[in-house]
Every structure is written in C-alpha cells, then in structure tokens.
C-alpha cells in the first residue's frame, strides 16, 4: 500500500464526515417543521413557514405537517391538497390552521387529520378535503437521516435561512401554517382548460380506488382520535370549476368515489365522533371561471364562502356524545 493512497482515503473519509456534520447543523438550525425544537432567531431561521411542499418528496411534508400541527393549538384545522393550501386564506381566520399540501392523497390527509386530534391541545373541528379513497403509499416514514441530512430537507433548510436573512420571515410572520396566496395567478385560457379537463379525466381514470370496506378501515384511526378528542370531522368536496360541473365523465367519477366514501363514513362507528361528508361541489352561488385560477384551484373568495358554510355545517349536525355540552 502506498502512503499517498492511504492518506487520500483517510482524508476523504474525514472530509465526508465534516461535510455531513455541516449539513446536519444547517438542518437543525433551520428546523423548518419544528422537528428539533430549535428556537427562532430573527434573521436566521424566523422564516420557517416558507417550507416547500413538493409532490416529489412526499413523506417529508406530511411528517413535517404533523410536527407543525403538534406545536400548534388552533381549534380548526384544514387538510387537503393544494386546493386547500391556496384556497383558504387563514390570515383572515386566526382560529384556523391550513395544512393543505400539494398532491396530497386521502391517506396523507387522514394522517394529518389524526395528528390534529392527537396533539396536546386537540383540534375541535377538522375539515378534510374529500379525495378519492386510495391505498396508502408504500413509503417508509422519514427518520433522523431524512430530517438531518437528506437532500430535499437540506434544500428546504437553505431556503428557510435565505428567506430569513432577506427579512422574509418578518414580512410574512403570522399564519405559521401552509397557506399561500393565489390571487396574483392569472386564470388559464379556455383552450388550456379544455386540455386540462382531458388530462384530469385520464388522471382520474388511472387512479386505483379502494372499496368502502378498505376505506372504512383507513378512516378508523381518525374516528378513534376524533372520538378521544370529542371533535368533529367534515370530509368536504370543495366548490368545483364550471368545466368540471359540465363534464359528465368527471362528475360520474366523483359520484362513484363519493358514494364509496359516504358508505364508509356511514358504516363507521361515529357515536362519539361527529364525522360527515359535505358536498359543496354544486352548492352555493353559481361560480364563474374567473373564480378559479385553474381547473382544480379555487380563489380565496370562493374559499371564504366554503369556510363559512363548513363552519355552519359543523354546528348543525347531530350533538356530541351524551353528557358533552
């Protein structure tokens, strides 16, 4: 063995350890989801709500959402896809935590809903966007490696620190949830909407949807945590774009999985948890295309109406378990 080669190997190993240590330190300092309980320092990590919610790195935002929910005490929690994230402006509703994430599936949404009831100060009302009942992803939950070293998390940590240094944390402080504003986004053209309807049809047709029995099983943890917290869950179908309401195929598909979801909720033992499906897709004012930024994203004006309607629905249901006011 030549000494130069042996030295090279040792130096490389030390360099790797040093670089990984620096990356881990960066992640602990930025701590975008409150995983490490790092205090917030002005100009260093105070822009912690600037977290990315990329579809690609699914487990991190979902687990991150759980940590963020755990540290929060707001009584109302909204869970769902980017439609929720962009459509409900929680700056106007300080009692609500928006946990909408891009590309969320029903199993992801249920995981977050369970977390909302399981925290030290349980949520009173959890509004879950009703999504097609799908089998859960076969992705292991993130571990310390994912939180401290993994590339997607490190990119998010760098974003947090950059945004904090630029003062974005101070400018944006307030909601501390996943809500983002959509208002500056222009509406799609008519031709683009037509093509998006076709793409949405193809995407819906390719989904694997489980039956009512499997859906009921996947709702069971939520029912249990909701009962323990004596809370309310509303699985809601948000207002739909006029193009969707005019498309027979999409409506038929929605009706089919909604029936499965209703059957599963109806069969579940909800004696100590109020759980219902609320369909807002064809309800309320006649929405125009301008009320939506895309086929699946409604603007906050629509979100305001939906939120008020859901709050009203949560009060009008059956009473809680006997003995609870």
């Amino acid at each position: 063995m030549t000494s130069a080669d042996v030295r090279y190997l040792w130096r490389s190993a030390a360099g790797i350890a040093l670089a990984l240590g620096a990356i881990a330190a960066l992640n602990v300092i930025a701590d975008p989801y409150g995983r490490f309980g790092t205090p917030r320092w002005r100009g260093i990590n105070d822009a912690w709500d600037h977290v990315a919610t990329d579809l690609v790195d699914r487990p991190i935002p979902v687990e991150g959402g759980r940590y963020r929910l755990h540290a929060d005490a707001r009584p109302v929690v909204l869970v769902g896809t980017s439609a929720v994230m962009l459509g409900f402006d929680t700056r106007r509703h300080p009692e609500a935590f928006n946990a909408g994430l891009s590309g969320t599936t029903l199993p992801d949404a249920l995981t977050l809903a369970v977390a909302a009831f399981a925290r030290p100060c349980p949520a009173r009302l959890v509004l879950v966007e009703a999504l097609p009942p799908q089998p859960p992803d076969d992705v292991p939950p993130p571990d310390l490696y994912d939180w401290a070293v993994a590339f997607p998390q490190t990119v998010i940590a760098l974003r947090v620190i950059a945004a904090s240094m630029l003062g974005a944390g101070r400018a944006h402080a307030g909601t501390g949830d996943f809500a983002r504003t959509l208002d500056p986004m222009p509406s799609l053209t008519s031709a683009a909407l037509d093509r998006n309807v076709i793409a949405l049809r193809a995407s819906m047709a390719s989904l694997t949807v489980v039956d009512a029995r499997a859906t009921r099983r996947s709702l069971e943890p939520l029912r249990r945590s909701c009962a323990a917290a004596q809370g309310t869950v509303l699985l809601f179908v948000p207002p739909r774009h006029p193009r969707i309401l005019a498309d027979g195929d999409l409506l038929r598909f929605q009706a089919s999985w909604l029936q499965t979801l209703r059957a599963a909720v109806g069969d579940a033992d909800t004696s100590s948890c109020r759980m219902r499906v609320v369909d807002l897709s064809g309800a309320g004012p006649t929405w125009r295309e301008d009320d939506f930024a895309s086929l699946t994203h409604f603007r906050p004006t629509v979100g305001e109406w939906a939120y008020a309607r859901l709050l009203a629905e949560s009060d009008s249901g059956a009473p809680h378990a006997p003995g609870r006011p």
Binding site: M1, T2, A4, D5, V6, R7, Y8, L9, R11, S12, A13, A14, G15, I16, L18, A19, L20, I23, V56, P59, D138, V139, P140, D143, Y145, V149, A150, F151, T154, L188, T189, A191, A192, R195, N196, I198, A199, A202, S294
Partner: protein, 492 residues
C-alpha cells in the same frame, strides 16, 4: 439491491471488502469464494425468484463449454449452435413475455416484475464465452469457480459492462489470492462516488424534471417546440448519465477488488459521426455486437456473388450494419418504439457513411470539410435527441406528439406543467459536462479510454480528496431508503 441503496453501500460493500481483505491476510485462495458469495447475496436481495435461473444458466453453459472442449470440431459446432440458440431463445422468451404482459405506459415497473435481473447482460456474456471456446481449440477450460464469478460477479452482473472471459480470465488468479490494495481502492471509491453523483445528482434530477412533461405528452398535451426539444435532449442526457454513472460504479467496484474492466462510455455526445458515436456509447455492447453479429455477417455477405467488389463491400457493410442495429434495438426491448428506433438509427448510420464516401470521392476542400464536420456533429446530436424520444415514450402516439412538436407543428396547449428552475439548471450543467468535460475513462486512465492531458487525471492529492469528499457528502444526502429510482438499463 442497487449500487445506490444504503443497504449495499453501508452494509454489503464494506462487509465484502472486509471479508475479501481478511482472506488476503489469513486465508489466501478464498477470495473468489467470498466474491461469489457476495454476488449471490446481491442478486438474491434484488431478485430472489430468479436466483435459481441464474445458477442453472451458469451450470448449463459451463457444462456446454466443457463438452465443447472434449468434442471433435464438427460436434463442437453443433454444441455451440445449441448453446447459443438456447441462450438467445431464453432471452427472447423473457423479452416477448414482458412485452406481452406490459400494457402501454406501465414501462419499467412491469419490466422489473417479469424480467429476471440482468438476464440481457449475463446471457450475452455466456454466448460470448461459448463462441470463444468454440474458436479456441487448444485452450484448457477454466475452473468452475472462475466461470461462475465471470458471470455472477456483482459489479457487472445486473447491467454490465459486458465483459469477455478472455479479457478478465488472466486476472482471476490474482483475485483468488484476495486482499484489498489502497492504490486500487482509492481510485475505485473515487470512481464509485463520481458514478453515484452522475446518477443521483444529474440523471435522477433530470428525470424528476422531465417526467411530468412526458406524462403530459402522453395525454396529448405539449406546450411549445422548445418543450419538445427539451424533452428529447433532456432524456438523452438522463439516459447518458444514468447508464454511464452505473458503468462508472460497476468499473469502480470491480477495481476495488482488483479487477480492471475497460471503459463503457467514451464521451459519446462528442462523437463526430454516427459510427464514431456507436463506438463510444455502451462500448461493451457495441464490441459484442461487432464481434459476434456484425463481423461474421459481414464476412458472409461479402462473399455473395452480386455487384462489383467495391459495391459488394459497401452492401455487405450496410446489410450487416442494419442487422446489427435492429439486434441492438431488439436486445433493449421488442416493443415497437425500440424496434423502430433500431431501424431508424441503422439507416441514419448508413446515410452518414454514404455522405462520407461522397465527400471522399469528390475530394471536398478542407474548409468545406470543417463545415461538414460541424454540420455532421450537429446533425448527429439532433438525430440522437429525436431518437431518445422513442426510448422514453410509452407508445408511438406519444412519440408522434413530441416529434410533431419538435417539427414546430402545434397545436400548442398552455399548461401549468413546465420545466422547473432546478430542472433547467441541471439540464445546463449536464449538457456542459457531456459536451465539454473529460470523461471518467480519461480521468482514471481506464483500459480503452481516449487519451487525455495529465492535468485532468486523478491522483491521490488533497484537492482530489476534498472534491470527492464533498461530492460523496452530497451523494449521501440523496440516498433514499424506500422507493429509490432504478437504473434505466436495469429494465433491459
């Protein structure tokens, strides 16, 4: 198990290196047994169902080689024909089965489910062994352990490089003595890190950026001609970095145990003609096809009594070229997109060669030659960009949408799916590396690599160790425990 899985990098590889080194210290002669054991564990972790097939295939082909050694010349030919036919039939059956079951759009996932891991690669190695044994009348057959390692050695088992027994056999006695050497381990691990970076930092990031565009094109949506070209060029780069990254890892891993394997990618995107490109991309497959398909066929066709000698020579070359490329296309997959791509590349190569002949015939002036050289290189890159769409698309309808887009034929559909900023940066970085940087064969002075100036060569210096350590740290951040992306060539 893949080379970029934590289970391999942090468990199987270090344990195998330790065991192999321990053998060198205390149990010389057991090196091959250790490597064989590790290789079988590696295969079983990736595809336990087909492990018996691998073992049976090794046993049968080794037995055929022994039989040939004991047979007379005429019987040897019969055994050879039987052996080659059996290997090719097995490979064809698996490919046809995967294609029959594979619905459009399922792609790699279905191929993984039905194709035995590495079957396309180890079958070719067995065929090359049988042909070489039939040619080598006096050579003694190898010990079974050497032959088994030749087929099953984990660095090249799953996706090549396709090595020939006669090239690696002289190194096996040294492998049997075992023992890891720092002068081999240092460049080997550096090459492994660079291969991992090519895969995880470039190929996978390009895949993440391009996949939504291809999904959209599959639904008939394409936003602009620029998007169409980005999809083609981007996938060409993804394929290049995915497979050349894999090859770097394989060559580095083999070197870590003392086995030197030749270069598999020689900067193919710097090629100046179609034939130059073929000699640089997947060198081991090109060499196999040249030696076992093209050359024998060329010799047969050249003897056919048609046309004048120069014309016959060209026709034999063209015929053998077309058959070779169709064979390469079918070897990848028997799907219509691959077969069509094979045919088109074959005709493009013949066209390039015709153009060269015309240039020579008319003795084109040197400045015009420089112009045609540039046009040739540009034409080649454009052609490769178009052909890569055939390899990536799930069906011919998607190919049509993208190629029409490349030709500037709409209708353009506004879409929210666009190439991300990270994707664009990755594309630019990958393009610069593929078109301008020296390749790993040159950097690590691998057998068969193009010559390179000494300043770009790897050496055990502080600068190299810092660069490799930084790259390794980034690579470690990109490892995934769960649904890690697979190597594209694993599906073939």
């Amino acid at each position: 198990m893949s080379f970029h899985s934590p289970a391999f990098l942090f468990a199987l590889l270090p344990l195998t290196l330790l065991a192999y080194h321990a053998c060198g210290q205390w149990a010389a002669g057991w090196g091959i047994a250790v490597l064989l054991g590790a290789s079988l564990v590696f295969y079983a972790a990736g595809d336990p169902r087909h492990l018996p097939l691998l073992v049976a295939s090794i046993a049968v082909n080794f037995a055929l080689g022994q039989t040939m050694h004991r047979s007379a010349r005429s019987s040897r030919r019969v055994v050879l024909l039987l052996g080659v036919a059996a290997n090719v039939a097995m490979l064809a059956l698996f490919k046809l089965r995967a294609q029959a079951i594979d619905p459009p759009g399922a792609g790699a996932a279905m191929a993984f489910a039905y194709m035995p891991l590495g079957v396309s690669f180890f079958t070719l190695q067995q065929v090359s062994y049988l042909v070489d044994r039939a040619r080598d009348e006096r050579g003694a057959p190898p010990p079974w352990s050497h032959y088994a390692l030749y087929i099953a050695f984990f660095p090249h088992l799953v996706a090549g490089p396709i090595v020939r027994f006669r090239d690696v056999a002289p190194q096996y006695p040294r492998l049997a003595r075992a023992g890891v050497r720092a002068e081999e381990l240092a460049p080997a691990l550096s090459l492994l890190v660079i291969g991992l970076a090519k895969k995880l930092l470039l190929a996978d990031r390009l895949g993440v950026a391009l996949d939504p565009l291809y999904v959209q094109a599959s639904a008939g949506v394409i936003a602009s001609a620029r998007d169409a070209w980005v999809m083609g060029w981007g996938y060409l780069l993804q394929l290049y970095f995915d497979f050349s990254g894999y090859s770097d890892m394989a060559i580095g891993l083999a070197l870590a145990f003392g086995l030197r394997v030749g270069v598999n990618f020689n900067s193919p995107l710097k090629a100046v003609s179609a034939s130059d490109y073929v000699s640089r991309w997947h060198v081991s497959l090109a060499t196999f096809v040249r030696d076992y398909v093209f050359s024998p066929l060329f010799r047969v066709l050249r003897r056919l009594p048609v046309a004048s000698v120069p014309h016959r020579q060209f026709m034999a070359w063209a015929g053998a070229t077309i058959v070779s490329f169709v064979t390469i296309g079918a070897w990848h997959s028997v799907s219509p997109t691959f077969l069509l791509a094979g045919v088109l590349i074959a005709f493009a190569t013949v066209g390039f060669q015709l153009a060269t002949l015309v240039r020579r015939r008319w003795a084109v002036a040197s400045d015009a030659r420089i112009g045609s050289h540039v046009i040739g290189r540009l034409g080649l890159l454009i052609g490769l960009t178009v052909f890569s769409v055939f390899f990536r698309s799930d069906r011919l309808a998607t190919v049509r949408v993208i190629v029409r887009g490349m030709a500037g034929v709409g209708p353009w559909i506004q879409s929210s799916v666009v190439l991300s900023g990270t994707g664009a940066v990755t594309l630019l970085l990958a393009s610069a590396i593929a078109l301008a940087a020296p390749n790993t064969g040159q950097i690590f002075d691998l057998p068969g690599a193009l010559p390179a100036p000494p300043r770009v060569r790897w050496r055990p210096s502080g600068t190299w160790s810092a660069a490799v350590a930084l790259l390794a740290a980034v690579v470690i951040t990109l490892l995934r425990r769960g649904a890690a992306s697979q190597f594209i060539y694993r599906q073939f």
